[in-house]
Amino acid sequence: MTDPALSNPRTVGPRPRRRAWAVIGERALETVIRASGVSAILFVLAIFFFVFREAAPVLFSDDFNFLEFLFSAQWYPTSDINVRYGTWALTVGSFSVTALAMVLAVPFGLGAAIYISEFSGPRQRETLKITIELLAAIPSVVWGFIGLTVMSRIIVALTGAPVGVNLLNGGLILALMSVPIIVSIGEDALKAVPDSYREAAQALGATRWQIVFRVLLPAAKNGLLAAVLLGVGRAVGETMAVLMATGHAVHLPHSLVDSVRTLTANIAAELGEAPVGSSHYQVLFLTGVLLFCITFAVNLTADLVIRGVRRK
């Protein structure tokens, strides 16, 4: 009652009360909203829990050697006499395909991001962005099919390799698949550089190319790094495209036209044949845990890098 205006009924009437059910309903709804928000955490935990649960028995069994699982190149899951679960060749397969894809996708992706953000006019920018969005929308199984039919013929014709489904094919397909994410995140990073930087450089007589090279790239390097990391995450986790485009040889690749198999493709190829509950089946789930951890680490790093940019 310290404020006279509030106690004076002529200036302010009694505060209208909302009906009880409206208040209760609103509370209930807000609880649901909160629960939906929290559900994202639950889903990530559930993914780890359920995949790990299937993998756990083999992980804690006596004749399973975790170091061998990680670092042996011998993968003989269905052998009668000498069963071996070494995923090294698969890990190398995953990373060589990813590395090849990044060698191709990073220059093109960042170049396109620079063009879109710094050189193009509004109409051209819109067209390019829509094209990239459509490129990103092509399903991975269609990419795999393109690798299997179109790309493999081109590769056989150009390199004379015995089979067209190989490391090079997978790398090309994955490059095309991860370019859109690199472009869109990279463009965001460039857009986040304040215009005053560009104006200051222009006032000193710098051309646009000089502005890009000397001012924007250093200023946006964290964001661009995050774009590349997210591209890596996409490439490592891709399944159907590499399953169809890289061939099916589980060995360490020696050249660009060697067939390889990746961690993801291996699960997709063998899960259907592994008897449920067998150690082979459990090892495949363990490979899933490994993949989960790899992509978690990559995405976490990308997120920390982006957050670092924002704080600045």
Partner: protein
Amino acid sequence: MAVVSLAATRFTKTALAARKERAEAVAKWAFFGMAVAMIIPLVAIIAYLLYRAAPSLSLEFLVEMPRRGMREGGIWPAFIGTLYLVVISLAVSAPIGVLAAIYLNEYARDTWFNRLINLAVINLAGVPSIVHALFGLGAFVYAAKFGYSIVAASLTLAIMTLPVIIASTREALASVPMAFREACWNVGATRWQTIKAVVLPNSISGILTGVILQVSRAAGETAPIMFTGAVFFKAIQPGTVFPYRLQDQCMALSMHLYTVSTQIPNVKESIPYATAIVLLGTVLLVNVSAIGLRVWLRNRKRW
């Protein structure tokens, strides 16, 4: 003489300026080339697929049953199966996704817990599709005892596509100016009343775009449904609109493309191409409509 040469040099380029200009032009065209290098494959791929698919492309191809072990005939069961999976996964992930985005954008303060939720969303988007498949197999097929079924496959797809909806809904909500909310709070509205009366009406089209994108993503995925409910072949009654039951397994377009292109020998040449075109066409059509909606919305925007 001296005066004339001075005037001439004032308006001709110095060596440095010429070099700068050349570098500028080279850089511009190089970057342009890189950008265009992404359009060419898109157009070339679609054109080539269309060309190879042409012999099979017809309305009959869409609505007929596969014949002779899928070596001839159409793709109707796969098309309907995809429809089932998309609709059910959408029914699950759209409400959760939109509400989660509302929480993150309208309620969440910058605390460690909400940063954790953000991180979870980012990671959910980054989990490989095959790991989602393993999760679906472990959680829905075995632990929840749904078996290999449409329900299990749709739920797996729903969780996989959740981040798509959350991300685009958040963007739509964030584009509503803060002043709108403040004005509403100032006349005494509660947080939810503000959301209902001001935020949602102003962002509903953006949210719809996100939902459409979820559809495109769910229709194209293969790995997550491969081990949870999609099968190579399932006979259905021709002409029925609801041929599958929820606990049935089903065919799906993406899975069908994988099957006819890798698992079955001696398929009629143009069938895999035609399947790819139907899948690609469906997905791109959905995306184009989302883009169209967004453009229309932007032109209509009054603030």
